[in-house]
């Protein structure tokens, strides 16, 4: 079984993001970048399936600027077998990514796609669902448990009311939630091996996809500074304030 794992290069989760002074986006120059943490979980799940003998090959795909190759290297060091980089300086939106992934699926014919439920930069949580729609494949989103059985996959989903279990027929798409697994650290020998694993570089045009944005970003702004709260001495005072000041009851 071949597994495709899309991985995204995002601002590291430890970095305090700053909005660019011209309001066009978030500052990324000189900022530490890492693999989207949900994608790390996706790579880990794929590697575990390979270690169990369920999967035979793991292909990591990333899209964006040339430096995204490093995100692929991270996936290779964790245990992916080879990488595909779709290189473009265009700001990719979920629909463009989904279309590009669809083209790669046509080329690679994977049986399973495991990807993060969302990226921590824009928190869109859209690409997996869009890709499923474009391919006409079943999807198991927000997975906290994944089990392959025969030609199907059972996914336990984290939904608002609790856990929902769905059975999908392969090929299928799974998007990962936080509790699916705890990703491993790359060991030194695996980091060394990853340097030698192949990464194929493509352009969107090679895949016949126009990645131009369909949505226009008007402005990006800092969230308003949080105001200091007030301390109340008693429940009665709290209720009074809720009535007179907050006017919510």
């Amino acid at each position: 079984m071949k597994i495709l794992v899309p991985v995204k290069r995002v601002v590291d989760y430890n970095v305090k993001v700053r909005v660019k002074s011209d309001g066009t986006g978030v500052e990324t120059a000189g900022v530490k970048m890492s693999m989207n943490p949900f994608d790390e979980i996706a790579v880990e799940e794929a590697v575990r399936l390979k270690e169990k003998g369920v999967a035979t090959e793991i292909v990591a795909v990333s899209m964006g600027v040339a430096a995204s190759a490093e995100t692929i290297r991270t996936a290779l060091a964790m245990g992916a077998d080879r990488g595909i980089l779709v290189e473009t300086d265009v700001d990719l939106q979920p629909l463009a990514v989904a279309k590009l992934l669809k083209a790669i699926v046509a080329k690679e014919a994977p049986n399973l796609i495991i990807m993060g439920k969302q990226a921590i930069d824009d928190d869109m949580s859209a690409t997996g669902q869009m890709l499923a729609a474009l391919l006409g494949w079943p999807q198991g989103t927000f997975a906290s448990k994944v089990a392959i059985e025969g030609d199907g996959v059972t996914v336990v989903r984290e939904v608002d009311g609790g856990l929902e279990t769905v059975a999908l027929t392969l090929p299928a798409i799974v998007t990962t939630d936080l509790r699916l697994n705890e990703p491993r650290y790359a060991s030194l020998p695996n980091i060394m091996k990853a340097r030698k694993k192949p990464i194929e570089t493509l352009k969107p045009a090679d895949l016949g996809v126009d990645p131009a944005p369909r949505l226009t970003v008007l402005t990006v702004a800092e969230p308003p500074k949080r105001q200091a709260g007030v301390k109340v001495g008693s429940v009665a005072e709290l209720v009074a304030k809720l009535k007179t000041e907050a006017k919510v009851i």
């Binding site: 290297r73 060091a77 650290y185 060991s187 030194l188 020998p189 980091i191």
Partner: protein
């Protein structure tokens, strides 16, 4: 000229930092209180192959250079593990370089893989009570008897000898009176630390309680001739080969520890409010911290410069010594300033910086005093007459 770390170097720094995050401040505080070798930390690094970072790939290592090892050691110290964490693995990283360079293939096959896998630990038995940097005058004797050598004598400041199963040992095989130059007649062995013939006595010290330093007494230790590295009588030359890398690594550790202290001081200066403003808003607090950063960063660049020289086969003595001096002093100043920035709390163990200050004395003093580095630079770089 490119001063940035490569992507591969960034990746390995991040990987080491992630392992270190599993061993937090409380772990090292506890080790500092009660001692006990940080075996789980040593094993965590061994498990992921980090002890073999500089070892040749054919013996299970990664075959990377001194620059990568320096990045790794800085990351370890900077995580808050300080010298306790760094010294727990330090000797494994470059200590066996003489074996790598001068050992036979059979020896390398026998000696390196267990060390890389973390199954064996080694200590470095060179310095003696009456011969510190004056290495050629060491008096520990190894006398050839049939197919073995018998070792008698004494060593001091031997780190990790309490837990090590192996040791790299420098001893005199030909008496000093019988050689033309004092540098001749010393031989290098990598052998089993047989505790029935070797007494290891721990030295109580200022900091780094969990990684032992010792006096070591040899009373008829038998060393098989198979454990002789290279040729008999050339041990000093072999040891010299590893001294510069050793200095570079310890300098990297001092830089890491200094940055760890600076990070704590800066965080405290931002959050501690006195007279209605964070103390870090006062220049008396922020200027010394800014100075610490510049000095640490300059020292780090000298470390990387020395490592680059070594890795590209250039003479690196001046840069390696300068790196060790600059890093030792910058690290010390940063740790001291971190305590002062914390005021009274800096003296409390739970703020960690007093531990850093005690530990940073190690790279300041060892493996060569700052004064002797100055002598080296004066003599070898500036061409001034030898003063001692």
């Amino acid at each position: 000229m490119d001063f940035a770390l490569t992507d591969a170097q960034e990746a390995l720094r991040e990987a080491v930092a992630r392992i270190c995050r599993g061993f937090g401040d409380e772990y090292w505080l506890e080790r500092d209180r009660h001692g006990g070798f940080p075996s789980d930390f040593h094993q965590a690094l061994a498990r992921d192959g980090w002890l073999g970072i500089c070892m040749p790939a054919e013996y299970g290592g990664a075959g990377l250079g001194l620059a990568e090892a320096a990045i790794m050691m800085q990351a370890i110290a900077e995580s808050g593990a300080g010298m306790s964490g760094a010294s727990a693995v330090h000797i494994n990283i470059f200590g066996l370089n003489p074996v790598v360079v001068f050992g036979s293939d059979a020896q390398k096959r026998r000696m390196l893989p267990p060390l890389i896998a973390g199954r064996e630990k080694a200590c470095f038995a060179v310095t003696e009570p009456n011969a510190g940097l004056d290495t050629t005058h060491l008096t520990t004797r190894a006398e050839k008897r049939g197919d073995r050598y018998v070792v008698n004598g004494q060593k001091v400041w031997i780190s990790t000898a309490q837990v090590a199963g192996k040791m790299l040992l420098l001893a005199r095989t030909t008496p000093i009176e019988q050689v033309r130059k004092s540098t001749q007649g010393l031989s290098l062995f990598y052998t089993t630390l047989d505790r029935s013939r070797v007494e290891v006595r721990e030295i109580e010290k200022m900091g780094r309680k969990s990684v032992d330093s010792n006096q070591v007494f040899f009373d008829g230790l038998e060393v098989p001739e198979d454990d002789l590295i290279g040729e008999e009588g050339r041990g000093f030359e072999y040891i010299l080969h590893g001294l510069n890398p050793e200095r570079v690594l310890i300098a990297a550790e001092a830089v890491g520890l200094g940055f760890a202290a600076l990070a704590r001081a800066t965080a405290y200066a931002k959050e501690r409010v006195v007279f209605g403003r964070p103390i870090g808003q006062n220049q008396a607090i922020q200027h010394p911290l800014a100075e610490n950063w510049m000095e640490l960063e300059a020292a780090r660049l000298m470390v990387m410069n020395a490592a680059w020289q070594y890795d590209t086969g250039r003479p690196c003595g001046a840069a390696a010594n300068a790196a060790k001096y600059l890093a030792g002093e910058a690290g010390f100043k940063a740790c001291q300033q971190a305590v002062m920035t914390h005021g009274g709390y800096g003296y409390a163990k739970e703020y960690h910086v007093e531990r850093f200050l005690r530990e940073v004395m190690i790279p300041r003093i060892a493996p060569v005093s700052p004064q002797l580095v100055l002598c080296y630079i004066a003599e070898r770089v500036l061409g001034l007459p030898k003063s001692y």
